[in-house]
Amino acid sequence: MISDFFFPQPGSGIESHIYQLSTKLIDRGHKVIIITHAYQGRTGIRYLTNGLKVYHVPFLVVHREATFPTVFSFFPIFRNIVIREQIEIVHGHASLSNLCHEAILHARTMGLRTVFTDHSLFGFADAASILANKLLKFSLSDVDHVICVSHTCKENTVLRASLDPLMVSVIPNAVVAEDFRPLGYPANPAENSVKTRGPLPPAHPLGPHETITIVVISRLFYNKGTDLLIAAIPRILAAHPNVRFIIAGSGPKAIDLEQMLERHVLQDRVEMLGPVRHEEVRDVMVKGHIYLHPSLTEAFGTVIVEAASCGLYVVCTRVGGIPEVLPQHMTTFAKPEEDDLVAATGRAIAALRSNRVRTDRFHDQVKMMYSWTDVAERTERVYKGISGALSEEEFYGSHPGGGWSATRGRAGVQGFSLIDRLKRYYGCGIWAGKLFCLCVIVDYLILVFLEIWAPRKSIDLARDWPRKKPIENGIVDDREDARFPASARVVRRRSGRDGWRDGRVVDPG
């Protein structure tokens, strides 16, 4: 797993996606390491729960925690890590992460299988998008498989990077449903399964004058639709007397939001919580009845799944991948415009007031729909498909006469020979194609140089996390500088017991 975006950065969906997926893949018996760049006060190598190893590579950060694009500078250290950890598949995340694109290029040069997961949607029109799309096209020209979080995202990525749709899979995000329980839901559902508990009690009916709380949790950026929210809140509050808002999150638009509150004197009906940590999101959500999600662009929208899991009725804009996420009975959709958002919120309030929505059942339904185990299983299938463990027909389905390009060997699995790779990159554009080819050739030369300068066999192999052996508790130390592999300690302890008095002297040299 490789991405610029990982903890300790306060997470949007990507960080938790990487973490959850890695954890589940480890549970399935794979070895997973995460490579990201160094954050403030966090450089070096760390172990997370379950032996998930994270490399925080020291790099220069330019914008919103993305690293500076220096096409080749990452190669030596990347090669070192890949060799010492005996990596077979490189899985990059997020299209704005330069680390991920570089890693995919280098991994292909080194002859590894690559997967890329796209988490976001992009436009085609403005200059920044054009540049980003070109970069994406560069790194995805030679990738083995692409995973998108929704079908809309898949369509977007296929168009942006001119990919063969068959090599793009859709695997949605998931939520840890246990972390997003509604109020009063038993912590351990096993004891209170439907059989022992009997049918669910009827929902707590909402009185006609009871206050309905609308929750908004989002980073307050333009693309999250904060402007829409600012326009809609006064109108919603004017139309519905017993309604109040809870808004959590921070960002550049927070000041506009506060100005709006002061202008309309709505401080008593709108509560601003400021930034909340991901663990606290549930506690905020369960205070409300409706979750309002005014985003202007969203590839998946994990947060609305979390809201539904907490038993909230969801009002959201019909943009991006959002319509795919939740079934009809959990959501009210609006067009991404002020009038329709107000109307949709009105419909949602009316539906709740008439008690037509069984929000108390949402949690169980969401739990059935989304789980990280399922995501990991499907990702594992992609890994098997690209590494050849699954046959072509099984993985891609049968497509007689499917137009595989001449540069491919087995359909969908990209050959590693340099000339094939160059053919694929050359198709990127009149000038870009030649530039990309040049980059690939330079990358290859760097690899040749590195093989001489730091020979493969001189690189120390890292120890795997000891999975099978039960480890004594308390071995993993929480101190800042002492996140050491328990394996080293285990060795030390064991020989401390049996080799204490015999005094053998063995020179390992």
Binding site: N80, W453, A454, D481, A488, R492, G499
Partner: protein, 208 residues
Amino acid sequence: MLNVPVRLSIRRPSPTTVSYTVSNAPSRTSFSAQATFYVTIILRVLLAISALAVAVAKFTQVSGAQKVPGAQILFESTSLGTFSDGIATRFSWKIVFPAVAAIIYAVVQKGYTEESLLVIRGLGIQTSTSSSTYLSTAATRFIPTNEIRDIFIHEAFKGFEVRFYLAVVVRGEEDVVVVFPNLLPKRRMLEDLGSRHASQSAGISNVP
């Protein structure tokens, strides 16, 4: 990184002490290797003496012979003296002095690093890193047993690669003390050493 192979040698000066020495010096066990080593030392000394003689000769020429008593006799009577005097007269001081400095610098360089860890049971450990020249002594650091909080092997970024290191957590210090900080031996060597370290100083590893 072009690594010279690192060797580990273990000595036991007394029943309660063990010294682990890690070195990238070429091995000198055979007779010819030892002979070459001593011949090199003699050559180094001769080179240093002649370089110094050239410097003194040039100095006397530049400053005037009267100021250095006895120099005149030295440079006229001995063969080394006349040789260095000849070189000194041929080149200007702008060439001679930097050249002499460079030669002396090259001569005193050891060309290898030796780092060691001395474990004294019940007392503590002493780390030492050999200096890069013959003139200065090794940098050592003694850590008493009751100051050691923990010893671990971990990985870190070093240059363009990831290396294993053995480190000692010292009570009341923010940074850990890295043992063998320059040579950074391979994981196998460190683990082997770590296990033996524990066996040698069981008292240390029981400190909370």
